[in-house]
Symmetry: C2
Subunit: 331 residues, 2 copies
Amino acid sequence: MEREQTIILKNKPKIVGFYAIAGPKEGKGNFGPYFDYVMKNDHFGEDTFEKAERKMMETALSGVIEKSKLTAKEIDLMIGGDLLNQIISSSYAARAFEFPFIGVYGACSTMAESMAVGSVLIDGGYCKHIVCCTGSHFSTAERQYRFPLELGNQRPPTSQWTVTGAGACVLSKEGDGPHISSVTFGKVVDWGIGDVNDMGAAMAPAARDTMLNHFKNTNTKPEDYDLIVTGDLGKLGAEILVDLMEEEGYKLGVNYGDCGQMYFKYNQNTLCGGSGAGCSATVLNSYILKKFKEGQYKKVLFMPTGALLSTTSSQQGDTVPGVCHAIVIEA
Amino acid sequence: MEREQTIILKNKPKIVGFYAIAGPKEGKGNFGPYFDYVMKNDHFGEDTFEKAERKMMETALSGVIEKSKLTAKEIDLMIGGDLLNQIISSSYAARAFEFPFIGVYGACSTMAESMAVGSVLIDGGYCKHIVCCTGSHFSTAERQYRFPLELGNQRPPTSQWTVTGAGACVLSKEGDGPHISSVTFGKVVDWGIGDVNDMGAAMAPAARDTMLNHFKNTNTKPEDYDLIVTGDLGKLGAEILVDLMEEEGYKLGVNYGDCGQMYFKYNQNTLCGGSGAGCSATVLNSYILKKFKEGQYKKVLFMPTGALLSTTSSQQGDTVPGVCHAIVIEA
């Protein structure tokens, strides 16, 4: 028998504030008008790209706390992570506020992982206010995972573009805003994709697994949601997911989208689209939550995926496992 | 006013099983007789040290599940992390069992971080059985964080020796075993230590912060515990913590110890002692929990610390922030 992975939340943990900051290229993309802050350049006034990434997270944290009409002292806990080795962007951002800190790592699924852990802690009455935050930076990711930017390497057609941006939200016991009604912690799934330039294909099986589990546990179907949104499967991965779900008897229609696929405009040369922990984080914490505020969305299934590899695992011949954590947001 | 970081658990999540595996040097150390399995060599039959580290975690996972008289399918969730970039040891170990997986990163505090998150999930009734697992490997840590082993670099007197070992435990709603009565998620604290070979000094302020917060919130004092144990402050860091606590009016006596300080024998040439995510994980999941079984311990404050740096943050001139998560285990 299949394990029931979905946790139903009874006490409606609320999303009382959200904030997104992104880079200039992202600002020119499809979600640009929805971001709270668009940086003029990728350095953000810092000496290194890593420090710029950290500053983005700090900006998202102070921004969301202010928008939630709270002070940093009122935040019980920060939950977050990022793509850099030892999640330094998040840890150093937590340092700036002296937050009690749960560091998590779920690659590009980190926003959902953070919010899933956070909403359970709020739902159970263990905390009053939790801030969740994640981000990524094109230039730090390129040089850590791939090549120095100066090399000017060619990008294969299945590759994606790491989003420069950070998103944060505050989860609270009480207050105004949509609530999280269920969370599904995803299994680590590996169908044997070894191409590190084809993350969409590597992660789609994890999205399939979590989506199937979620639909079965909650007795829902795709039509029950105003939006079903994956994180950064990209153009190819999203197509694969649609096919995989069709094989299982689920038809993903026009209410399905992928943040990575939708992120950039056609002429922005990002091949299969956006990726990175900041991809789904900035879309959720701008466009999606604003559409809740405007009353357009009543029920959204947010399920970013992550590829759980490292350069070492690739160099040692390992394939790429994926994970997908899901949360349901309701008005 | 200081934030209350301690979460009191009402429903007594139980530790129903524990398992520790360690390397040959560790097997000859002070906790050697208590480990479930001591490896004959650091390769553990694998081509690379990284794969050996993963196999240790897989061994700890299957070992603890068997000792808990459960099957992998009955485990709702795995929570864990490790020191390798992108926590690949944990993610790939989770893949082997197809566990739903919350990846966490708290450097050497990861065992307590995992158990703190896990015990809240059990306490709130969200899961029945959760497995927590972490580990580290001397040879993977050296080459990732420091120098290739082949260089034979000298070690400064403040340095510590990364433990090769993995520990795992199963937390359950019901069953036999000691329970977790409270958890304290620690703040990220940085007092400006920049020497990456002096982790004990960098992490002691975080231990101080969490310990003070814990004592105040629970209205307890050092004498109320059979054992207060930090993770890997080492000889120097443990002395610093004793001094820092004395300044605050708390006298840590013979019931205080540090896993790293106690790990190796005097003639094992580890300078300030053991370190790594596997350090406190293997001590807890062997010696400490066996002493509970034998009735020697009734109440233990387990509070490993983590240094939240990366090689990149050090290279860019950052100081070393620490974090310390605490859990109280009671018979």
